[in-house]
Symmetry: C2
DNA sequence: CGACCTATTGAGCATCTTCAACATTCGTGG
DNA sequence: CCACGAATGTTGAAGATGCTCAATAGGTCG
């Protein structure tokens, strides 16, 4: 049961850092305070003071920042195994909102429990900080995409990155994955209009590269897509932290 | 002398966290390994393994990521008092390059020295981590700009943000600041062509908002510029970490 | 059924890019 | 001290990319 929930997180960390039985145990104990959240209602509100962080067990979530003019920019999507709100546990306010895209299950992690876990199993602390740095690298890569890639390239890159991340937790492979995002989500993430997202998706489909339909992404020509996006997964694959 | 070098860094941290004499002393000791770097030659290379980090004492620096097609995207600019390469000290590779824009002075910080300083003065560790989180918040804000703001708004926002950051270390105020950036730097940071940067700057000048000329930024209508950019410096001004 | 959310497509338009030419500044060597 | 070249800044014109507005269709859920 607990094993089931902690699966994705442990699997992700374990892909880069060998975790001992003790560490896995501490990890699973962090998952006890399990909760369910409905789609659309924010977990963390922009500007709010927040003590708790979460480990996402199932479902998808997005972090976003709302603009005064009403538009919003999605910073990143989070998938099972991802840590939510780590920064707002270290600091004490959140500069962005966190919203479930579908109904999700997440384990609430109290600030004190996390700090205790870190104190007792330093390797775990290093692993989590490594994961946080990887998240930051993804944000940077996203920024590069918005600044220097065309709409087609951005879309291809995003679909590939999500695929690579999902593959790490056993929820996808090079043929495709299930994806609950709407075209509006993609638009808000990629800095495009929803209309243009639709056209881009059509073109990618007509060129036989990817199909995004009915909640499923199907890679029809994986190498072709990688070439179009100039997708270099180095920033995801980085070796784990030095664990002397 | 050491006081002089550590000035900007201590001043920045001190603006948010009250530092004791002991902490200031530890801080100044971190600045001993002072070095000079010429403009244009990278301090840290993209993809390189790097042990050392730096505290920038004078001059400007940019972090950037090069694309396979030759274009580059500047992630952020660093100014005196900023920490360089903190992530590459925690992990062990850098996913981006760091390049001096002018000749700079920086204090090299060895991994071990930093960890020692953190161990002896935890408040200092918290303060530095707070600074790192603030940097991340700036990257996020930059991402939002690229995704959801027009060229004019982006430019206005960037010039205002730099002004606010410089003011924190006593190098600028609401009337303006000295700025060594070329229009190419701005283009690479804002995701625009250099040509368009030139037009945008002209328009901002003609509308009496800012003047960017001869290495100097002059705010001609600060409130007007803030309104245009919808500049909300909350993400820079955040209160310091909880230092219980 | 009706309301609402999501997806789709067309037409016209704004923003920003590219290409090209030219001006200006600045450092360097003659 | 001047001449030259390189880097930076400036401007015009043409074109591409992506946006807005608008209309329509399918799907889901109460």
């Amino acid at each position: 049961m607990a094993i089931n929930i902690s699966d994705a997180f442990a699997r992700k960390l374990g892909a880069f850092v060998a975790l001992s039985a003790t560490e896995l145990d501490v990890l699973s104990r962090l998952h006890r305070r399990r909760r369910t959240f409905v789609a659309g209602r924010d977990l963390v509100h922009q500007g709010q003071s927040e003590q708790a962080a979460y480990i996402l067990a199932s479902g998808w979530v997005c972090s976003y920042k709302s603009q005064p003019d009403g538009s919003r920019q999605i910073i990143d999507f989070q998938i099972p195994g991802d840590f939510l709100g780590l920064r707002s546990i270290l600091l004490h306010t959140s500069d962005h909102g966190i919203q479930p895209i579908v109904e999700i299950e997440a384990a609430e992690v109290r600030k004190q429990d996390l700090l205790d876990a870190f104190a007792h199993t330093p390797r775990l602390a290093t692993a989590v900080l490594w994961a946080a740095s990887r998240d930051e690298a993804m944000v940077v890569e996203h920024l590069v995409g918005l600044g220097r890639r065309s709409a087609m390239e951005r879309m291809a890159h995003m679909l590939l990155e999500l695929g690579a991340r999902l593959a790490l937790v056993g929820m996808g492979n090079k043929t495709g994955y299930d994806c609950p995002l709407t075209q509006y989500h993609l638009a808000d993430a990629l800095g495009l209009s929803a209309v243009h997202v639709n056209r881009v998706l059509r073109q990618l489909r007509e060129e036989g590269l990817v199909t995004f339909q009915g909640g499923h992404v199907a890679f029809n020509d994986y190498p072709g897509l990688v070439a179009l996006a100039e997708f270099d997964p180095t920033y995801l694959d980085q070796v784990g932290p030095l664990l002397d």
